[in-house]
């Protein structure tokens, strides 16, 4: 329902020109929790502001439900924003903040009243409805900002890193809360964050961005298990990158072991980089048998729920292997410098495009 077509945004001009978005294309569905994920400066907030209408695009189009809204000012787009610093009106109470959008739309008083009450109930702020927004806590402010943006029942809700100012526990609670709200209201949520774990837990689909471009769009599982390129693989979760030789659906690692893989589009035979997630590998003491790889231990790191073993393969490449700890104690491993045999789970090898 939101179509972003060949959109480019350049700030400044001449020597100081900065390209924040470079020919970006994306389609966001209705009733979807869509996340823009990337490091600072990747353009995700810029894209959000373009959808909201706070900046005009330099090139390209933004469409909502088939209608080109690129020229519309923000107060004519059925899109509402939850700002990173909340931007609550300090001279108005909680209830007045929430009612603001409806007032501006000229809704009848009774409707404003009932919708405001409904929103207050939704975010559990009924008790504080007459408080000044400067007198409530950060978490409460966040909920008011949410209610204020939802009250006018927009077609799209934009959220600009709304949880970044909250402490960990509150953050996790709000993540669940936001997901629930999106399900209940059926409104399309476009969520911006740099926290990959947050993106993975909340989203229906994620767009990974870097340096003004969208690198990959997919479900959390797709992004995690089948990243298309090195940056995406590196940004999400932990990674092992290995050199390999690709020939007709089979890769051969440096030590000679072979694995069959899905070859992504556009990748030719020859040298490739492959990705293996640490939790898809395991290591045991002893010499490698059939289908196993020889390695020596550099360090062993115990982290409560798992043990990560930093290994060195015969080829000299490093490999991280993570294994869950069982109640019986950690797996049997020699100390540093010891020899182990590494098993890579079937289907765990992903060929990267770069």
């Amino acid at each position: 329902m939101i179509e972003i077509g060949n959109t480019t945004k350049v700030f400044g001009s001449g020597e100081t020109a900065f390209t924040a978005l470079r020919d970006v294309n994306a389609t966001i569905q209705g009733n979807e929790f869509f996340t823009l994920l990337g490091p600072s400066g990747c353009g995700k907030t810029t894209l959000l502001r373009l959808i909201a209408g706070f900046e005009p695009p330099t090139m390209g189009s933004i469409k909502l439900g088939g209608r080109d809204i690129s020229r519309l000012p923000p107060n004519q787009r059925p899109v509402n924003t939850v700002f990173q610093n909340y931007a609550l009106f300090p001279h108005m109470s909680v209830a007045q903040n929430i009612a603001f959008g409806l007032e501006m739309l000229g809704k009848p008083k009774s409707e404003i009243q009932s919708t405001t009450d409904e929103m207050l109930r939704l975010v559990q702020m009924e008790e504080l409805k007459d408080r000044r927004t400067s007198e409530i806590s950060g978490g409460q402010q966040q909920r008011v900002a949410l209610a204020r943006a939802l009250a006018p029942h927009p077609e799209v809700l934009l959220l600009d890193e709304p949880l970044s100012a909250l402490d960990l526990k509150l953050r996790k609670e709000m993540q669940i809360e936001l997901k629930r709200l999106q399900n209940e209201t059926g409104i399309t949520f476009v969520f911006v964050t740099h926290d990959q774990e947050e993106a993975l837990t909340m989203s229906d689909r994620i767009a990974v961005m870097n340096a003004g471009e969208i690198l990959q769009v997919g479900s959390p599982r797709e992004i995690y298990e089948r990243p298309s390129q090195r940056f995406v693989a590196n940004f999400i979760g932990e990674s092992n990158f290995l050199d390999a030789d690709l020939k007709g659906g089979t890769v051969t690692l440096a030590d000679g072991s072979t694995f069959s893989v899905d070859v992504p589009e556009g990748v030719a035979d020859g040298h490739v980089n492959v990705l293996v997630r640490p939790e898809h590998t395991s290591a045991r003491a002893g010499e490698p048998g059939e289908g196993e790889i020889a390695a020596t231990i550099d360090t062993i790191v115990y982290s409560g729920e798992a043990t990560t073993v930093h290994l060195r393969l015969a080829s000299g490449e490093p490999l991280k292997s993570r294994m869950g700890n069982t109640p019986q104690g950690s797996t049997d491993l020699p100390g540093e410098g010891g020899n182990v045999a590494v098993t890579i789970a079937p289907g765990a090898i992903t060929v990267l495009r770069d």
Partner: protein, 309 residues
């Protein structure tokens, strides 16, 4: 494939142009007011300075350089030759010297005052600041009248001196250069104190401690460390006192009487009994030029200060 209906950068350019238009429209009332009743009339005055004086005041609409010439030259009443307008020249000299004296005096008294206030502990400082600021806000005329009450023949100073038997007859202080200088120093003092206060407030006293640690006496430390560091405040204060002094009107009128004219009074004369509007206009422009020179000097000095770090 994008099917946008506009050219690259067009939407941004439109938004920017609309924003510019909007800002200009908002500024219009203020701009018009000032153009018609502050800045514009100055241009009219330039025109008038090149016209001929009318017989009963106002002007005759014919070109004449008499206005400008009469600022420094006049016709000898006996033999009609051109000679220097001594009266004018002495007035220029008085204005310049009194303004300089006022600046120096306000500096001499203002610097210790500013220093004292700025070095007070934080709780008491607000009190002293308030104390120095309040007279500044009092009406200029009222402050001038207050000085008059001090120095006139039946004023406070004479009464006290007579009572104490130190003098037999009242000293004539009113209507002298002394009166004007004293009055201006009194009236413009707060303007010197405030910028110097700001400079001292920003002073890093550890530098002074370092000077003392290296065996400097208090006086040497003041001369070689403190003074250079608070120079920006001193310069700002000097300009803030000098410029209004140069163009002073009320204080010299009340305290100097009709005999000791300063620039401002000389200008007024041309629109009163002097009936020489072009001369008045030319003199005003001269005053403005002098003020501009002072301001340019100020800008030069402060940017040099900033360049030296």
């Amino acid at each position: 494939m994008s099917d946008a209906t506009y050219k690259p950068g067009e939407l941004e350019a439109e938004a920017r142009a609309a924003d510019n238009r909007h800002r200009w429209l908002l500024s219009l009332p203020a701009m018009l007011l000032i153009i018609f009743a502050a800045a514009g009339p100055l241009l009219v005055m330039v025109v008038y300075s090149f016209l001929a004086p009318g017989d009963y005041g106002n002007v005759k609409w014919e070109f004449s350089l008499e206005g400008w010439m009469n600022t420094v030259i006049q016709r000898d009443i006996f033999d009609d030759t051109l000679i220097w307008a001594d009266a004018h020249l002495s007035i220029f000299w008085r204005s310049l010297s009194l303004s300089l004296i006022t600046t120096v005096l306000t500096l001499l008294f203002g610097l210790p005052t500013a220093w004292f206030i700025a070095t007070q502990p934080s709780g008491k400082r607000e009190f002293w600041l308030y104390l120095i600021t309040v007279p500044f806000w009092a009406n200029l005329l009222v402050r001038t009248i207050a000085i008059q009450e001090l120095i006139r023949s039946e004023g406070v100073i004479n009464l006290v001196l007579l009572k104490l038997g130190l003098i037999d007859a009242p000293i004539q202080m009113m209507f002298t250069n002394f009166a004007i200088g004293f009055g201006m120093t009194y009236v413009y003092l707060p303007l010197m104190v405030l910028p110097i206060y700001a400079s001292v407030d920003k002073l890093d006293f550890r530098l002074v401690e370092a000077a003392h640690d290296l065996y400097a006496s208090r006086w040497t430390a003041f001369r070689r460390v403190i003074l250079p560091l608070i120079k920006p405040g001193i310069i700002a204060g000097s300009i803030l006192v000098f410029i209004p002094s140069l163009g002073a009107y009320v204080t010299p009128r009340v305290l100097g009487g009709g005999k000791n004219l300063m620039f401002g009074n000389l200008i007024e004369l041309q629109f009163g009994q002097g009936r020489n509007w072009p001369l008045g206009a030319a003199l005003s422009l001269m005053l403005m030029a002098a003020v501009m020179v002072a301001l340019i000097w100020y800008v030069r000095v402060t940017s040099r200060e900033q360049a030296d770090g």
